[in-house]
């Protein structure tokens, strides 16, 4: 047996992060501050952006279902965090990023994009505003260096500004699932939330303490469920993880790895950098046109290219479903009649829905024409249906 595609999340299009080669577990890579806990918990590891991160703790399907029905706890400490402070911080981010970050309120969060001059996507980000002059930018681990470099380069000309890469000092734990709020509330060492968690809205955040150590809690996530992301200094991360697990074990909380994180975000129609997003992708092609604020009065990097738009007929991201159990995977072709009209960027047998789902870039003309589409699954043509994203949407609370 050998591997066709063995990795939950590549660094770049088509670039496999792991293979079945046995040396993958060599301890030459960076490890999370929670690594010993994961080893003790029986995790399998995958190399992700130079980090050894848990891919699963035994059953990725069980972890997926736990997040949909109860809760899962993820270590995503490999993510990059950049603190942006100063009187010019808001104006700087309005220039450096695609959105209007100056418009969000204190402790509000916003999904945004870092574009290059050609309108391509350097990274997708979540930005938390922590005060009038203080923002916290969270980037993908694999894009830490280009994001930090771009932010520093774009800081030129802003005098009252400091951009500090805090990634090495901050750990990130996500608790995701319908019972996640009750788990945080039952964690007695979490105190002093400025906003009670039951009043904290989606994409807002609050300061708190964990046993005296400052903690940032965002009601954010990457699973399509209600959930929270908790930022803390690396020295307290293991204690925070243990406290959350203790509070959650009776509520169905289990540790979950990157494999389930990938199927969860896929069902939720959330793009993954390197799959749905990249330097060669305009936001509008990925369905992220709304993330780029062209009503901003100020210039921002990529604006000219975005206003010109992609060429006519540029492929657009769609959802595809198929029957049976064989899933279309990244890089598989999509056909209409005998013409290749698209390419899959992510796909899996959806654990929640029970049928295969995929995201694909396809020629817009074939969608408008309603032509029957097929996915080429290793030589077999399987009929595919275009559906609107997301594939899965949680019921309102």
């Amino acid at each position: 047996m050998t591997e066709g595609e063995f990795c939950p999340q590549p660094l770049a299009p088509g670039e496999l992060l792991t293979d079945i080669e046995p040396t993958a577990s060599a301890h030459t890579d960076r490890t999370s501050p929670l690594h010993d806990i994961h080893v003790a918990g029986g995790a399998s590891f995958t190399d992700f952006a130079g980090w050894q991160m848990p891919v699963s703790y035994g059953s990725d399907l069980a972890e997926h279902h736990a997040v949909r029905t109860a809760a899962g706890i993820f270590d995503i400490s490999h993510m990059a965090e950049i603190l942006v402070t100063g009187a010019d911080a808001a104006a700087f981010l309005d220039y450096a990023l695609a959105g209007r970050l100056s418009a969000i309120g204190d402790f509000q969060a916003k999904y945004s994009l870092l574009l290059d001059e050609t309108g391509g996507i350097i990274d997708d980000l979540v930005v938390y505003r922590l005060g009038d002059e203080k923002f916290f930018v969270v980037a993908n681990a694999g894009n830490r260096a280009p994001v930090v470099a771009a932010l520093h380069a774009r800081a030129e000309g802003f005098d009252n500004l400091e951009v500090v890469d805090q990634s090495d000092d901050i750990a990130l734990i996500a608790v995701q699932g319908p019972v996640s709020r009750s788990i945080l509330e039952a964690t007695s060492a979490i105190t002093g939330t400025t906003v009670p968690l039951d009043e904290l809205k989606y994409y807002w955040s609050t300061d708190a303490f964990f046993d005296g150590t400052p903690l940032l809690i965002g009601r954010t996530g990457y699973t399509g469920e209600d959930g929270f992301e908790l930022y803390i200094t690396v020295d307290r991360a293991a204690e925070l993880w243990q406290a959350l697990v203790e509070a959650g074990v009776d509520k169905g909380l289990i540790p979950a790895g990157l494999a389930s994180r990938d199927t969860l975000r896929l069902e939720a129609g959330m793009p993954l950098y390197g799959h749905e997003l990249g330097r060669g992708t305009f936001p509008v092609q990925a369905g992220l046109g709304r993330v780029v604020n062209l009503k901003k009065e100020n210039d921002f990097v990529g604006r000219t290219a975005i206003e010109a738009g992609p060429v006519d007929g540029a492929r657009v991201l769609v959802g595809l479903t198929t029957e049976g159990r064989r899933a279309g995977r990244a890089d598989y072709s999509v056909f209409a009649n005998d013409t290749e009209v698209g390419i899959i960027t992510s796909g899996a047998l959806s654990p929640t829905l029970g049928y295969p789902v995929a995201m694909a870039y396809v020629d817009p003309g074939v969608i408008e024409a309603g032509d029957p589409l097929f996915i080429d699954v290793r030589g077999t043509r399987i009929p595919a249906t275009v559906v609107s994203l997301p594939f899965y949407k949680r019921k309102a609370n």
Partner: protein
Amino acid sequence: MADVTTLQYTAEHEWVLVDGDIATVGITAYAADKLGDVVFVELPKSGSALAEGAIVGEIESTKSVGELFAPVDGEVVESNDAVVSDPSLVNSDPFGEGWLIKVKFTALPTLLSHAEYTALVGE
């Protein structure tokens, strides 16, 4: 579950149990663990002729696809219907109920011993 120390192995992470001229074939626990939860298995039908090294089936998990290589020349005498209807057997009992095919072989290549396979995967 078979005694793993008496099985033979391939570098493609398959195990082979030889009994007379019949070889039972499955994938190793190491491979099953690396694949993750198996959700789909496609196997060659009884009577299929196999050539060593040819791709004869697929083992698909939520996150990846593994190919089943024929470890021997021969003819399939039985494929495991139970694992087709319940692919999770590959994870729960890879050396036992999760076996994949039985092959009446005509030639048996040099395979890896348990010690050699263990050294290969570094576990």
